[in-house]
């Protein structure tokens, strides 16, 4: 066992033998270039000039008043392409360039990571192929168009359940055949080592900035840091620089879908048992035969049956707490944030806002909570419209 690829009992490299040397090559390159001043300067340059960092840490005064504690929003929704996904894509594609790769592939569920990867590929002149479940392509046709406008080829995946996990399987299969000239850009904090480490590294810019910003604005660290968790990329980025600050409570918010008890949810940590999927050992939703169970969430970005291995470790070690928010709770919070702050959040991020409301009840008015607003909700207007029509909200 290669200890360094593990977070406690989680992580590892559960992949075909034919990918083991590829992963080693990737890890070596990552270790080399993340110590290379030129490389780091280039990443910083694009994060600043192209993505638009740093993003504000915004004191949401009306939300704070309504919820009864001080709430700061880390505005990842203001990034180019509308979410935190681009932070990691810039890093991984620049690394791919350094490694001499000419093509990138990616998987996508709702299309956000696909759009981010297609964006990065256009920027750095790489050939880009995105694997997407055939069902998801129908539901997210606008994102398919975006990717195509950006020059990417979108390949429909029709195996298994036709969703994100199957698109991931297909990307892994393709990668195993083409690794010589192709870089696989994984968008979440999942996959075989070194991916969880890489994604955390490139997303940790979120917490580095937030820590500095909260010290500037409040002169002290927050009491609570919170983020939504699907695979766990924005949350691990939001947690990263606070993990060693033992007085800061870390809370990850999974999707409870229609309710944990209904079985239609995406909360790998609430009910999942440790398992192996997509090259990693972590908590995983599975049926009585050990087949992977489909996740459910109104938010496509949280609709994943597994979770990044470091989150599994943070849960088991007690360093972070993981909770779950139902579809309707998230939608209520989404509407509330629209009206109170003039911000339309992604449905994913609204899960964190919904739990912020619950958590605030346990906090004092002068306590401080930082919530990662991982993305904006423009992509979700169709889903929101359908939901509201069903609920009769706006009538």
């Amino acid at each position: 066992m290669n200890k360094k690829s593990y977070y406690g009992a989680f992580g590892g490299q559960y992949v075909a033998e034919s990918l083991m040397n590829t992963l080693k090559e990737l890890d070596d390159a990552f270790e080399k270039y993340t110590k290379d001043e030129e490389f780091l300067k280039e990443v910083d340059y694009y994060l600043k000039q192209y993505v638009g960092r740093e993003t504000p840490l915004y004191f949401a005064s009306r939300l704070s008043e309504a919820y009864g504690t001080k709430i700061y929003l880390k505005r990842e929704d203001l990034n180019h392409t509308g979410a935190h996904k681009i932070n990691n894509v810039i890093g991984q594609i620049l690394l791919a360039k350094r490694m001499g790769k000419t093509k990138v592939i990616a998987e996508t569920g709702a299309g956000q990571h696909g759009v981010a990867t297609a964006t990065g590929a256009a920027l750095f002149n790489m050939e880009c192929t995105v694997y997407m479940g055939a069902e998801d392509m129908k539901r997210q046709s606008l994102n398919v168009m975006r990717m195509e406008m950006l020059g990417a080829k979108v390949v429909p995946v029709t195996s298994g359940s036709n969703t994100l996990k199957d698109a991931t399987n297909e990307a892994i299969r393709t990668w195993a055949k083409t690794a010589e000239d192709t870089f696989y850009v994984i968008g979440s904090a999942v996959g075989p080592y070194p991916y969880p480490k890489m994604v955390k590294y490139f997303q940790s810019v979120i917490s580095k900035e937030a820590k500095k910003q909260i010290l500037e604005q409040e002169g002290r660290l927050p009491d609570v840091v919170m983020a939504c968790v699907g695979g766990g990329s924005n949350s691990i980025g939001m947690f990263a620089d606070f993990i060693e600050e033992k007085d800061v409570k870390l809370i990850g918010v999974e999707a409870a879908g229609k309710g944990i008890e209904t079985g239609e949810h995406a909360s790998a940590m609430a009910l999942g048992e440790p398992g192996v999927l997509h090259g990693m050992r972590s908590y995983l939703l599975q049926d009585e035969d050990g087949n992977v169970q489909l996740a459910h969430s109104i938010s496509a970005g949280l609709d994943y049956p597994g979770v990044g291995p470091e989150h599994a470790y943070l849960k088991d070690s007690g360093r972070a707490e993981y909770v779950a928010i139902k579809d309707d709770e998230a939608m209520d919070a989404l509407m509330e944030l629209c009206k109170l702050e003039g911000i339309i959040p992604a449905i994913e991020s609204a899960h964190a806002v919904a739990y912020a409301k619950k958590q605030a009840k346990k906090m004092k008015p002068d306590d401080i909570m930082v919530v990662c607003l991982s993305g904006r909700g423009d992509k979700d207007v169709n889903t929101i419209a359908d939901y509201l029509a069903g609920k009769g909200y706006l009538n």
């Binding site: 559960y14 034919s18 083991m20 892994i172």
Partner: protein, 263 residues
């Protein structure tokens, strides 16, 4: 002695090459599966790989993915396959059988309980394509048990410097991936496949089998002097499906392949 090692020792003595097939367990049903296995045993197939269906078969191509998916819809699971194994062993079917399965299925069952169940039901070997050398310690601890199945090691053309370490304690046979990637590719073999097989053969103390992408004995003719046997997966599944699992056709295919492989 383990059935795989016994069979391979026999073949070596007779100076013959092994013919190995892959089939998805429980297809089209368990009774028919037993008949297919018996037919193959009589026709000359030396070892059978039995695929345990899994929801996310990342190392398989479309044909086996599809078979796996349909098997799951039919309710095939590890418990039922283990029962079917017991049944066919008590029906005096002695052909060596290797389970090809993904690690999550084993983890979910419980690693030690799984190894015990294999011993009890007469499983001779395991191929776990998502369990590279670095992740094998956990299961190897239990594979020390008497009559435990052999963990078959896989190597690929890109394994290169890893090959000696992988083969150090390998038993049974070594499974060579012949075109980079997954099963079901056309027979456009990796450009340096002959060199590669030769490099494996050089280090290997056990028989070297070539898999992935083979349809007929002719496909492996250029490598015949190097390898000790051939494995047919996707093509065999497709052949069975297209012929509605006709036992005679299955028998003829296996018999012909085995004969031509040894001409």
């Amino acid at each position: 002695m383990n059935r795989i090692e016994e069979k391979l020792a026999q073949l070596k003595e007779q100076n013959k090459k092994a013919f190995i097939t892959y089939m998805t367990a429980g297809m089209p049903d368990f009774d028919k599966m037993q008949e297919i296995i018996r037919t193959q045993e009589q026709a000359g197939t030396d070892i059978i790989e039995l695929g345990i269906p899994f929801s996310d078969p990342v190392a398989d191509g479309p044909v086996i993915q599809d078979a796996s998916y349909h098997a799951i819809l039919k309710g095939v699971n590890l418990k039922k396959v283990l029962e079917a194994m017991k049944k066919l062993r008590s029906a005096k079917i002695e052909i060596p059988i290797v389970f090809m399965m993904y690690y999550n299925t084993i983890l979910h069952y419980g690693v030690e309980a799984f190894v015990d169940a294999c011993i009890e039901s007469g499983v001779d070997g395991l191929i776990i394509p998502d369990l590279p050398l670095e992740e094998q310690d956990e299961i190897k601890e239990f594979l020390q048990k008497e009559n435990a199945p052999i963990l078959i090691q896989l190597v690929s053309p890109v394994s290169k410097d890893r090959i000696p370490e992988i083969l150090k304690d390998a038993r049974g046979f070594v499974y060579c991936v012949s075109s980079m990637g997954v099963t079901g590719q056309e027979a456009t073999f990796h450009k340096s496949v002959i060199d590669y097989l030769g490099s494996v053969k050089e280090v290997s103390k056990i028989p070297v089998m070539m898999g992935f992408g083979i349809r007929t004995a002719e496909d492996v003719a250029p490598m015949k002097d190097i390898i000790d046997g051939a494995i047919v997966g996707s093509h065999f599944i497709r052949l069975m499906e297209e012929n509605d699992y006709d036992l005679q056709k299955i028998g003829t295919y296996c018999g012909t392949f085995k004969k031509e492989l040894n001409q």
